[in-house]
Assembly symmetry: D2
Homo-oligomer: 336 residues x 4
């Protein structure tokens, strides 16, 4: 039995993580934190979990959390995560971090996109990126895993096989992604106020979204050269789900069946990537850890289309998958 702590359990990724871990036969949730001082009962924060787990959220130091937990899921915002993580690791806990803090390889890139100094720069470049489909061996033995961003997962999984084989132009990649509103977190803001975003769709962060460097870095590592990626996220009036339509240019002629085969061969043994022939809808993966991918050839271009649940495969499900890999449990435990 692995003792589990969750830092910042009040948000949507925390809730989703709790729902998954409550089904995990090898996980015992022992400590939950919040930065408020009221010590609320879990059921007051997440009425969904009434009667499921008799715990209060506490305002504990990372050091104290590390005493009560063998593995800590860190659901803090960027910046805060990298301030807490060193103490967690020093305290002996293994850490799965949901923030962007340990995803980028260098502090300068971090500062460029996040407009602040990285609190723990020395560790950058040595942290494992928690995408089991590509970095499973590294995850197995990692003390600290950077859980991927929701958009990057939806972009990297379809693109990586083609980039790994040098099949597409690295300089002409457009990722047009659409996300449900839970991706924006649980803090009330006007943009996410129901009557503002209901019955409406908009693009946001055009050319400036912070997941762009993450996508580029991971794809660059797989491709062996830095790609140029235009990334456009959208806010869609639904709770959960990400759809990415990715426009690429094959280096030599490619037909649809061959493109699907590239995906099928790469992901044949993967439990959570489904290569499908139909055009997938986000609902096909809602509340699951699957990422469904298909390919189309249109006027000589290769279009890749992926769907996932941003809170599961895009966050908490991926984290549990990493947890399973790290601890040698069957990778699908609590996820099917």
């Amino acid at each position: 039995m692995v003792r589990i702590g969750i830092l910042g359990a009040t948000g949507y990724t925390g809730l989703e993580l709790l729902k998954l871990l409550l089904r995990h036969p090898e996980a015992e949730i022992t400590v939950l934190t919040t930065r408020q001082d009221e010590r609320p009962h879990l059921a007051d924060v997440h009425p969904q979990l009434a009667g499921r787990l008799d715990l209060r959220l506490e305002n504990l130091s990372p050091r104290d959390v590390a005493k009560k937990a063998d593995c800590v899921f860190c659901c803090l915002p960027h910046g805060a995560a990298a301030r807490a993580t060193p103490e967690l690791l020093d305290g002996g806990a293994r850490v799965i971090d949901f923030s962007a803090d340990y995803r980028l390889n260098d502090a300068a890139t971090f500062k460029h996109w996040y407009h602040e100094e990285h609190p723990d720069p020395a560790r950058l470049g040595r942290v494992v990126y928690g995408l089991p489909e590509w970095f499973r061996d590294d995850i197995r033995k990692a003390q600290l895993v950077a859980n991927p961003g929701c958009y990057p997962t939806s972009a990297i999984l379809p693109l990586a096989p083609f980039l790994a084989q040098g099949l597409i132009d690295t300089d002409d990649i457009i990722v047009d992604s659409k996300s449900g509103v839970s991706g924006a977190g649980r803090t009330p803001k006007l943009a996410f106020h129901y009557p503002e975003c209901n019955e409406s769709i908009m693009a946001y962060g055009v050319g400036t979204h912070r997941h762009t460097p993450e996508i580029c870095q991971v794809l660059g590592r797989i491709a062996g050269r830095d790609p140029q990626v235009i990334f456009t996220p959208h806010l869609v009036p639904m709770d959960r789900g990400i759809l990415s339509v990715i426009y690429t240019r094959p280096i030599k002629k490619l037909d649809q069946e061959a493109a699907l085969d590239v995906l099928r061969q790469r992901y044949y043994h993967e439990p959570f990537v489904r290569v499908v022939e139909h055009l997938p809808a986000t609902k096909h993966t809602a509340h699951t850890n699957f990422c469904d991918i298909t390919a189309r050839i249109v006027q000589g271009r290769l279009l890749l289309i992926s769907v996932e649940d941003n809170l599961v495969k895009g966050a908490s499900g991926a984290a549990v998958q990493n947890f399973n890999v790290m601890h040698g449990f069957a990778e699908t435990t609590a996820l099917l």
Copy 2:
């Protein structure tokens, strides 16, 4: 041409009001206020209105507003409205107030439900309740009109004809109302954060909602005796619309056709009340000033069902209707 001011134009009722008044041939919008100091351009606050009206919102005193406007629509929260209104009236403006401040007849009832002292108690009891279908003559000559609450309109219009004729028991009235989220206003709060209220319905304010005394007071005036009303509002995952299902007990046997006739006879000449035979959906009245009403007899009880758009007939449309009545314009101007 009537010069129009709007106090508190940043919310949803302000936006709806602006859309209606921009179509009104006798209204000239001259002044808009906000309690912020930035003097934002209207189009920055409401991008819907880009290119429609070249005005900035200003932090003006009611006295200054009264200099620039003949008629002021006051969209301030309760309390603030009754602090601004005396100055508006002293400055010579006619006022249509959207808040609850002037709807109740006495300061004690106000304090009981709103937990604060009324800022302008002397005026209470003499303010006209702006429901033209019942108080049109008073509205015509009023300096100050209390625009009805969204729920009260949906409850009073169906019930009043039966109470006026003494056809139903005043002590056994249940109003079960369901509202879209715009009714909660535009200030971000967790309860109205998209992923909280999307895909969910809940009752709220059970037994404690502040529209209860307003419903009782107006119905009591019409019935000639105080009714007992149980009022249960709900939050529904949609932008706009109120559906009220009202359970009453006929004093003597009543069949469905007779019940519909009571409604038809009372509202035959009303331009914005439609008595219908089908079960109405809120969408039938969305973006209109109509209130659709039907009646059913179930096991001897009389059920009244009404739908309206909470932002139009439940707020800004009713206000424009009052404006038309007050100024002798055709009552449907800008509303059809």
Copy 3:
């Protein structure tokens, strides 16, 4: 391992049932039927289940299904269910029926509400009603279980403890229920076409909904006398969830804490009924088998408020709960 068949697996209850049973360690799904002849692969009917179960849907006779399955979940429409069930039982299978066919005790009531002759009238009156919280012992040994309707569960669970103790007037019960659209099934109709029911709420089947006699019959059995129930269902723009607000009249004075205690004492040991103090939202129970209930006293009346997921506790989750009871498995298996 129990071999499972599902008759009519193409709808939403079939999908939900499959998702639950795929997690059940003692269930092996061996046969799925459809009334179409194309033998579609399960993943073509439910893309959500791609890669989960390699089965085709087949147009098989009940007799053939009974050869392949020990327990059959029958998700056919009313009428069709009672035509298939006798053969399933004769073939030796145990049956959990989702339709209304075996919920009512006599053929005359069935004909009155369903406007057709019952195909299997001799069995009526002897079939177990599958609400484990009230009829667990009967379910254990039943060959045929009538799975409750979604609305009835949301009405019976809160009302039954008060009726069992004679605490409320049986002649003054109003059940005002609101349901997500999945409750209407998967057959496309104009009323459930997205742009018709999105952004809209309406009451339907007022005074005529077929769940009324089911609610009355079960409550009557518990109360020891026939109650009079006014039942008003609504269609709410969301996928899933039922909220019922129930208006009752206590026979003698009852305060809120006492009312909550009646519920707490009755359901203390029940794994899927949560008595809560807050006003519950349907989202609290979405994708779970919980029914959350609270009580309020308003002007001397007792209001009971319940929420559940219409596809889980209101259908497929309840069926799996019955399956567990029937086979002696832990009652929460596959449901937490």
Copy 4:
């Protein structure tokens, strides 16, 4: 006063058109058709219009319609429209056709995309394309106007100014569009059944959508050479609205301000195109005839972003705009 007929008034474009025309001081609606024989009252088909217009829908021949109307809005499906139009024109009516039948210039292209013979091929190539912002002079005197498709309007308005000036590569244009469900019409189908498309987004018609040749043809005419356009539509869980994000490659360096200026200069005098600096949401144009457009430069590419209401600027509002132009009325009549 212009006498108006509407062929096929039962759908969403018919409803929207009626709402607009009821506000038009120069339009008198005299005849509405349906292909059903029941002669339903308008309010039975569209309860929104109860009390607004006392007309029945009739199954009339185009010839009979032409006797009762000076101008006919044809809201029939493709194929049916081109079978009715010749008779309408022969009967002396002017026609605004909502279908695709008269948008394409040659019968071969029509057959390629619509898989049937064109019923009225001789007229193709001579019909005016009803986009007033580009073809106003032709519309003025036209007997027959082909009202643009909803997606094409959202793509052409932003792209045309750049293509007219030769500023972007005609061979590298990607149009990624997202539409509300009303765009799919009012006929119930599984794909548009509420629980299928709610809480989900998907791409559809990838590489095969019939608006592709329309976009190419109109842009080709403006550019002076045939462009290559990849067009990807999506279905978004909302009633109305289209957002298009368009990826293009400038021929020489272009900065954001210069790009916005290209749009501003072209559309400065246009009443229904708003060039905005912020990222527009579809809600900004909901229930209006506006198309809001902005531009961004990302990594040297020019991104154009447009929003419109698919039922207004994308259909019925554009039709009324064309009607105004054809009849010499102020172009904004009934549209502001």
